[in-house]
Each structure stands twice: as structure tokens, then as C-alpha cells.
């Protein structure tokens, strides 16, 4: 059987119909139900999926979640210094907020901008509410893991160094750099998500990348 999870969900036959009550078999059962969700090919989120989500279709929302979850989680993961618990919390908050506001969307471009605005809000608000932006210490030196796969080890080491270089970036630069990389948003989309001008987006990206390069250089000695 296929390892990673995959499930298609029935799309409504007539998406233009008025909102319908959720059919019986799609109700949430009191116990956690393990659902399988299929990956959509390509990056497009079909208007049918969005329409179904707006109508309260839980399974369509699951498809949407599967489409974006890794990118949202990755941004949060690196934003919160590699802390999986904070990243999970943030990801959960993003999709919960999305759940209650999704009926305002009309098309793919607007949706992703809106989604990433939520990501920015959740991440930056959480960072602001913390007393210090202390970087979780990396104790890999104490528990170095020798690997028989030299390439894998090098890749992991490089990723670790980059992550350590990203962590101390000021939050507004950090989020801009991560969003640009993980979702390749246009300047216009980023400006909307970050609620600033495109010029500010360009400035944050330039400065963020430069700071990243300088910190990485210092880490490598």
C-alpha cells in the first residue's frame, strides 16, 4: 500500500449552488479519524476546492490543508528556530484562523496572499509576545551523529548552519526571507501579506539575505 497519505475527496457536483448542509457521512466523529488525502498535481488550488471550503466542506478543507501544510510548517519551523512544538502550534493557528475566514476568498491569487498574511501575523505576533528572541542552543556538538552517508551528513550540516544563521535575523527580515523561499510569492503578494510597500519588501529581502550571508560566514569562521 502507498506509504504516505493520499486521498481524494468528493468534489461537489454543482459548486455554484448555495451552501448546503454537510452530508451525514462527512460529520466529524467524536474520535479522531485518520483520513487519507491526495496530493493535487501542480500548485493550483482549484476553484472547486475553494468553493467547497467556503461551503463548509471539511474534506475540501483537508485537501487545502494538505496542499499548504508543509510550506506553512516549514516557514514556522525555521522562524521559531527549529522548534517543532512552536511550529506545530503556529501551523494549527494559521489553519484555524483560515477556517473561519475562508468564505472571503474568490480566487487562487488572493487566497495564497491571505493565507500567508495569516502566517505572518501568527509568527510575528508570537515572536513579539516572547520576552526574548533567545535562539535555542544547538547541541549537535554534544551529540554528533556520525553517518555512513557522507553526502547526507554534509547536507544536514549545511542545513543546520543555515538554520543557525537564519535564527538571529530580526523577525521582519526572517519572515520575509522564509516566505520568499518557501512559497516564491511575488513582490506584490508579499507586500499584501506583510502589509507594506513593494519597496519595503525589496529592502527587507535584500537586507535579510545579506545578513544571512554575513552570519553564515561568521559561523563558518
Amino acid at each position: 500500500m502507498a506509504g504516505t497519505q493520499a486521498a481524494a475527496k468528493g468534489l461537489k457536483q454543482n459548486p455554484s449552488a448555495a451552501a448546503r448542509p454537510v452530508t451525514k457521512w462527512k460529520k466529524i466523529f467524536p474520535y479522531a479519524v485518520s483520513m487519507l488525502v491526495v496530493r493535487l498535481t501542480g500548485r493550483e488550488l482549484s476553484t472547486q476546492i475553494l468553493e467547497s471550503c467556503r461551503s463548509g466542506d471539511r474534506d475540501a478543507f483537508r485537501v487545502l490543508y494538505e496542499q499548504y501544510k508543509d510550506r506553512v510548517y516549514s516557514i514556522a519551523f525555521y522562524f521559531f528556530h527549529g522548534d517543532p512544538v512552536s511550529a506545530s502550534d503556529a501551523t494549527q493557528q494559521v489553519f484555524l484562523k483560515l477556517m473561519t475566514s475562508i468564505q472571503q476568498f474568490r480566487g487562487e491569487a488572493e487566497f495564497s496572499t491571505w493565507l500567508y498574511r495569516l502566517v505572518v501575523n501568527v509568527c510575528v505576533d508570537a515572536a513579539r509576545s516572547r520576552k526574548s528572541e533567545a535562539v535555542i542552543s544547538d547541541r549537535l556538538d554534544a551529540f554528533s551523529v556520525p553517518s555512513s552517508q557522507e553526502d547526507d551528513y554534509q547536507r544536514a550540516e549545511t542545513a543546520r548552519s543555515v538554520r543557525m544563521a537564519v535564527s538571529p535575523l530580526p523577525p521582519k527580515f526572517r519572515i520575509a526571507v522564509l516566505m520568499r523561499y518557501f512559497d516564491d510569492l511575488s513582490y506584490e503578494q508579499m507586500a499584501s501579506a506583510l502589509r507594506c510597500s513593494m519597496g519595503t519588501v525589496a529592502s527587507r529581502l535584500s537586507r535579510g539575505h545579506k545578513m544571512l550571508a554575513e552570519r553564515l560566514k561568521r559561523l563558518k569562521g
Binding site: A2, Q5, A19, M35, R54, D70, S74, L96, S203, L205
Partner: protein, 353 residues
């Protein structure tokens, strides 16, 4: 001022996003401005660095909490024109009377949702396009290139692998039953026990709350592998308890075999699978006894009821030496296959599985 423009455009330039004319202007400036070239290299180094960060998969643990909230926080449907509500109400009233008639005369059981995952699965003889429903009595069939996902009422789902033929026997709230003729299914059920059953030619998997895969071969034999929870595999008077991490094979006319843990030795697993098939059970029994670990008391316990009385003594002695029966369970009771005594011993042994 020109430097400021260059700084603003460097990111877009490095990403190839500038219009051609602007890109040429930036290139021309870079040829004569060392400071801007240095800026460009710093930004480029940062961009190269960030590309080394791998995408991190979101943990599976996030979705359930979102799903739980979904039931509480249904988004409000978009506002609609008033006249549509009037029309909808009229349609609803008309439908109610016919629905009432249908409800009174409906066939037993309801229907489950089915979704195509891959290829062209069929329900009945009709190909499934996208999503559909399956009713009690209908077959779901997949070929070598197709797969489907069945939503089993409100208690879980079953993934139907390629080359599989499975029928919905009962689709009711108090009984969800499938019949697997051939192929493989992967069931993930989250419900109180004994609501979900899968019949095969050589036994019925009774779900006690779990996740498992079940493969049925054309000759009527099956292989059950439990991933989470535990399953009881039943046929006539024979019953095998298969916990997480264990496998049990069934044979036509013989029912469920002896379960074993997947990390048992190859010798033990082969012997357990072969047990009961050969004329004399001595060979396989000897192998099982000699190859068993503490954890393999799962296998040993099941042997008690499957061997002849002389061999039962041997199995008892071996099992008791590994894990003595609890107080109140005597040798005599076990050799007589006292059900309560066997159950108590099994409950005690389970702490070693």
C-alpha cells in the same frame, strides 16, 4: 539615488524577474560599480544559503486538532440572494414527502462515500469518476492501476489497493461489514470495538479499534497485519488475537493460524505459518518452541488450544518457564482449556508483548 535603485532591484534582478530593459540597466551599472557588485554577491550568497534549507514535513499530529475544531466552528456560508432561500424551502417541502416515503421503504443500511485515488476503480460495474457512493451489496473493484478510498460510515476509512475486489455487506450504524474476495485493503478505524468487520474466505477480522492491512489471495487464504490497536481474527470456533506489530495468516478450511510478531525470527514465522498444514505437527512445534523469545508468548499461548493433549503439556511447560501463569491459573485448568483461565493467562502475558 542610482545606488538606491540598484539595491531595490538587485533581488528581482538575481531572480530574473526584472523586465529586460531594467535588467540591462542594472547590468550596465554593475559593470562600473564595485560597491553594487559587492552588494550583489552578498545577496546572492544569502539566496544560495537559504536554498539549503529543506522543506520540513508537517507532523501528522496537527490535523486532528484542526478537524476537531471544524465540527465546532463551521464557517458561516456565504450570503445568498433571498429568493434562493424561498426556492430552496419550496424544493425542501416537496422533497420531504418523497424522502419520508423513501425512508420508510429504504433498503437496509445506508451508503458510504467512495473516492477514486488512482486509475479507474468501479462500483458495481460502473467506473468511478472522482467521487461516488457505495451501498450494501455492491462491489468495489480495482485493477492493477487503480485505488479507491472508502469512508466507512463515521468510524474511519478503508483504502482499497490495486487488484482488489471487496463488497459492502452491511452499512449500518451498529454494523459496518465488508467482504474481501481478493486483494488488499488498509483499514483505519477509530471507534468502540466490534463495529467493523471484514469477512474473508477463511476468517473474519473483527475490529477492536485499530489500523491494519488485510490481503486476500485467490486461493481463499488471507494475511492480516496489525499496525495499531488489535484485531480478533475469527472462524467458527477458532479465534486469533492479533495485536499491533503482529501478523496472522489464515487458510481456507483451517481458519486463522497462529499469530506472531513481525520481529520474531524467520524460523519461528515460517513454522507458525506452516503449523497445522503438515501431517505431523512435531517439526513445526519443535521449531516454534526452540525459536521463541519472551515476546513470542503470543504465539505460544495460541498454540495451547491448537495442539493435541500430549503436545499441550510441552507447550504449557515451555510457556510457564518463560512466564509462569498468574495466581489462580493452574496447570490442570490450562490443559483442560478452561476459557477463563486461558484468558487470564493471556491478559498477563500481554504485558510482555
Amino acid at each position: 539615488m542610482w545606488e538606491k535603485h540598484i539595491a531595490m532591484h538587485l533581488m528581482a534582478y538575481l531572480n530574473g524577474e526584472l523586465p529586460p530593459r531594467k535588467a540591462r540597466e542594472v547590468e550596465s551599472h554593475l559593470e562600473v560599480c564595485e560597491a553594487c557588485r559587492t552588494e550583489r554577491e552578498k545577496i546572492r550568497a544569502g539566496m544560495d544559503a537559504i536554498r539549503r534549507l529543506p522543506l520540513v514535513a508537517a507532523p501528522d499530529s496537527i490535523w486532528p486538532s484542526i478537524a476537531a475544531e471544524f465540527g465546532r466552528r463551521q464557517p458561516r456560508p456565504a450570503a445568498v440572494v433571498h429568493w434562493r432561500w424561498v426556492l430552496a424551502a419550496a424544493v425542501l417541502i416537496t422533497l420531504m414527502s418523497s424522502t419520508a416515503y423513501w425512508w420508510l421503504h429504504r433498503p437496509l443500511g445506508t451508503e458510504w462515500g467512495v473516492v477514486r485515488i488512482d486509475g479507474s476503480p468501479s462500483i458495481g460495474a460502473k467506473p468511478l469518476v472522482g467521487a461516488g457512493h457505495v451501498r450494501a451489496g455492491e462491489w468495489i473493484e480495482t485493477d492493477a492501476h487503480s485505488q479507491a478510498l472508502v469512508q466507512v460510515g463515521e468510524i474511519g476509512s478503508v483504502q482499497v489497493a490495486p487488484n482488489t475486489r471487496v463488497r459492502v455487506v452491511t452499512a449500518q450504524q451498529d454494523e459496518h461489514r465488508l467482504a474481501l474476495a481478493r486483494g488488499e485493503i488498509h483499514a483505519s478505524i477509530s471507534a468502540p470495538p466490534k463495529l467493523f468487520f471484514v469477512d474473508t474466505a477463511s476468517g473474519t477480522a473483527v475490529d477492536l479499534g485499530c489500523e491494519y492491512s488485510l490481503i486476500a489471495a485467490d486461493d481463499g487464504s488471507s494475511l492480516l497485519r496489525v499496525i495499531r490497536g488489535w484485531v480478533s481474527f475469527e472462524w467458527k470456533e477458532i479465534d486469533s488475537l492479533v495485536p499491533a506489530g503482529a501478523t496472522c495468516r489464515t487458510r481456507p478450511h483451517l481458519g486463522p493460524g497462529i499469530p506472531y510478531f513481525d520481529d520474531a525470527s524467520a524460523k519461528l514465522k515460517q513454522a507458525a505459518d506452516a503449523f497445522g498444514l503438515e501431517k505431523s505437527g512435531d517439526t513445526t512445534l519443535n521449531v516454534i518452541l526452540s525459536a521463541s523469545r519472551v515476546r513470542d508468548t503470543l504465539t505460544l499461548w495460541h498454540l495451547l488450544a491448537r495442539v493435541d493433549p500430549p503436545d499441550r503439556n510441552r507447550v504449557y511447560d515451555h510457556l510457564a518457564s518463560v512466564s509462569p501463569p498468574p495466581a489462580g491459573v493452574t496447570r490442570e485448568m490450562v490443559l483442560k482449556l478452561d476459557a477463563a483461565a486461558l484468558q487470564r493467562w493471556r491478559d498477563d502475558l500481554a504485558w510482555k508483548w
